[in-house]
């Protein structure tokens, strides 16, 4: 780097540091307290050098990052960082024994998790698994369909409250009819899925004609309305206090004590997640999945190639909502208590962040994103209050510098081999 270039860079960064120091001065250095209608201000001078130095350094970093980002060319398929790492794992693909062994080890770890780590950690993992389901569901809508849904938590709420209502209104009859309440979970599960799907379809009807930004806002409005109704219709929904004492699923006729119940729910969650991943992978590589992605890429071209846009959008929302509904039932069973606070806009944004940070449209990305978002705050307690701040920054950094996320979507490759003299394709996947 030439001397001049460096000098002007340093000047530039100094200027930016000065800018930020002044800009952030009132809110960071000065702290206001109000007592008896009089505002008093205290000065936290120790923060001043921190802002100055941090912004100086970060301005260099940011500038470099922008340069790197703008001159970056799309690398050929094999050379990106993540595929190099994947390359290290080639050994797994080729050697069947090693692959089997790894899978077996993984399954073992998953299976003994609750016993190895105890109830506290198991509960955390259950929450994380619920979020994995949510992220996979939202991934269908946002990642594949390109439809930004900011009210996804509403479907989550529908699922949870379906179970809650079932317990609240049908529960008593159930008990008096001699059935154990443990059955309710298993009834609620498919019911919630269906009802959430219905809500998904209902939501999609008004938004069929709307473009991206309007769509985002109307889904946000929908989410908020659902939460407000849950909050205010106290007679039915229990209002802010919600519904409690929701029964846990029973195990072969036995009511389990909390510790075993948590383990049981953990396994249920694991199985549901496995099922979700399985189904979503199948959808990804199918006519339905391709149609959704085509819609995201270009709605007009997609229509002109014979795809019914209305039907596609309905399917997208319905599919997405279904998983949220199921996840809601698991949540209700885990916590045995639901109230509107679990289904705020921030929930929707969190799930969106998991999808965006993990990798829009990518199944492993959604899983990793959800895991990170739910597990990190639990295991990095000291930073917990900065959680939202960190996530917000992460989301912006990712969307500017690595928009396809931590684990980008990998498109399937096909290889065609001539069969004898007749030319017929024979596909081999990569």
């Amino acid at each position: 780097m030439r001397q001049n270039g460096l000098k002007s860079e340093i000047l530039g960064s100094l200027a930016q540091a000065a800018w930020f120091t002044v800009l952030l001065f009132p809110l960071i250095v000065m702290k206001v307290n109000v007592a008896m209608s009089k505002a008093t201000v205290q000065f936290r001078w120790s923060y001043l050098p921190i802002i100055a130095i941090a912004s100086f350094v970060l301005s260099f970093v940011w500038r470099r990052a922008l340069e790197w980002s703008s001159t970056r060319v799309e690398k050929p398929a094999g050379s990106s960082f993540s595929s190099k790492i994947m390359g290290r794992f080639q050994i797994f693909e080729s050697n069947k024994t090693i692959r089997l062994a790894t899978v077996a080890l993984f399954v073992l770890c998953v299976a003994v998790y609750p016993f190895a780590l105890g109830m506290y950690h198991t509960n955390i993992m259950i929450t994380a698994l619920i979020y994995v389901m949510l992220a996979l569901g939202l991934n269908i809508v946002v990642g594949w369909g390109g439809l930004l849904n900011l009210g996804y938590a509403a479907f989550f709420a529908v699922g949870a409250y379906t179970y809650g209502f079932l317990w609240k209104f049908v529960g008593p009859q159930f008990v008096s009819a001699g059935f154990d309440t443990g059955w309710l979970f298993w009834i609620a599960l498919p019911m919630a899925g269906i009802i959430a799907t219905v809500f998904g379809v209902l939501l999609s009807l008004p938004v069929l004609r709307l473009r991206g930004d309007y769509l985002a806002i109307i889904t946000l409005a929908f989410g908020e309305i659902v939460r407000m109704v849950l909050q205010n219709a106290s007679d039915i929904t229990g209002g802010a206090t919600g519904i409690s004492l929701i029964p846990r699923p029973w195990f072969l006729g036995f009511k389990l004590p909390p510790k075993q119940a948590a383990t049981y729910i953990y396994y249920i969650a694991v199985i549901l997640v496995v099922l979700t991943v399985f189904i979503v992978r199948r959808l990804e590589d199918s006519r339905v999945g391709r149609a959704l992605e085509a819609m995201r890429e270009d709605e007009i071209a997609c229509q002109s190639m014979g795809i019914d846009l209305v039907h596609n959008k309905l399917v997208t929302f319905a599919l997405g909502a279904f998983w949220a509904g199921i996840a809601g039932v698991v949540l209700a069973a885990q916590t045995t208590y639901i109230n509107p606070d679990s289904f705020t806009l921030w929930e929707s944004v969190m799930i969106l962040m998991a999808v965006v940070i993990g990798g829009q449209g990518s199944i492993p990305g959604a899983i990793v994103g959800a895991m990170l978002l739910k597990l990190l705050p639990e295991y990095f307690r000291p930073l917990a209050q900065y959680r939202m701040l960190i996530y917000g920054i992460a989301m912006i950094v990712i969307i500017i510098f690595k928009p396809d996320g931590l684990i980008p979507r990998k498109r399937k490759s096909y290889y065609f081999v001539k069969k004898n003299s007749a030319d017929s394709g024979h596909e081999v996947r990569v």
Binding site: E74, A294, I300, Q303
Partner: protein, 262 residues
């Protein structure tokens, strides 16, 4: 190959009004089975607007667009949704390329085959034998189309990484995959160099011969138009000012006036 003079598409008194602007004014055209016809005219004449009216992107203010079947029966299609019109056998490419940029070349074509499949969500999940066979069939058919258009070496390439000429051809391949009887090409050689243009010219002839598809194209490149089309319609300020064979059009006074001024 000579085309039989049997119309398969009839456009009658088509008009399209946007606000105060009459983009197309009482245009009547017909396309005959098996021919290659061209729609030309100065910029802004309304050519793409006509395409949009035919393919359902716009609902025309007045007039009709009809598919004519072998007995002469007419089926009105104006105002229908684009996907329905595509189902009936009309496919198109776009003036500004509209590929599914982040999907692979093969996947772009596979989407064209979307409607040859029946399966929905359930069959996607269950993936029974019939679904698997259908998937295999789409793969084979799409690959065949790519081979015909000579894009098979790009099979797994992301669409937006393709060279420009290849992208245009991919759009055509995708449109072909929808199994149309009429293919509408909107400026297929725009931005191409002479070599690519020649290639595309061959492709167009090949499509007509092998796929038995009728072609209507919008173009500015006069050499392509003259070489490839059998009949030409000329549009100016939304009105049809001439119709005829390339030779006739070349010497038509109105046409020359529209392009070059008096």
């Amino acid at each position: 190959m000579t085309s039989e003079m049997k119309p398969i598409l009839e456009i009658e008194d088509l008009s399209m009004v946007f606000g105060g602007l009459r983009a197309i004014d009482c245009v009547s055209m017909h396309i005959n089975s098996g021919e290659i016809a061209a729609l030309i005219g100065p910029n802004g004449a309304g050519k793409t607007t006509i395409f949009n009216c035919i393919t359902g992107v716009y609902k025309p203010t007045e007039g009709t667009v009809s598919i004519v079947d072998s007995d002469g029966g007419k089926e009105k299609i104006q105002g229908l949704k684009p996907h329905l019109i595509n189902n009936k056998g009309l496919a198109r490419t776009f003036q500004n390329i509209r590929l599914f940029s982040n999907m692979s070349v093969l996947e772009n074509v596979m989407i064209g085959r979307h409607n040859s499949l029946k399966g929905g969500i359930l069959s996607a999940i269950v993936r029974d034998r019939r679904t698997r066979e259908e998937e295999q069939r789409i793969l084979d058919e799409s690959y065949e189309i790519l081979k015909k258009i000579r894009l098979d070496q790009f099979v797994n390439e992301t669409a937006r990484n393709l060279p420009y000429g290849a992208q245009r051809r991919l759009e055509i391949a995708r449109a072909l995959a929808t199994d149309p009887f009429l293919l509408l090409l909107d400026e297929p050689v725009a931005g191409m160099n002479p070599h690519e243009t020649k290639e595309l010219e061959e492709t167009i002839n090949l499509i007509r011969e092998q796929e038995k598809v009728t072609i209507l194209l919008i173009e500015h490149d006069m050499s392509l138009v003259m070489n490839v089309s059998e009949r030409i319609y000329v549009l100016d300020y939304g009105r049809l000012i001439a119709e005829g064979t390339p030779l006739e059009i070349k010497s038509n006074r109105e046409v020359i006036k529209a392009y070059l001024g008096e």
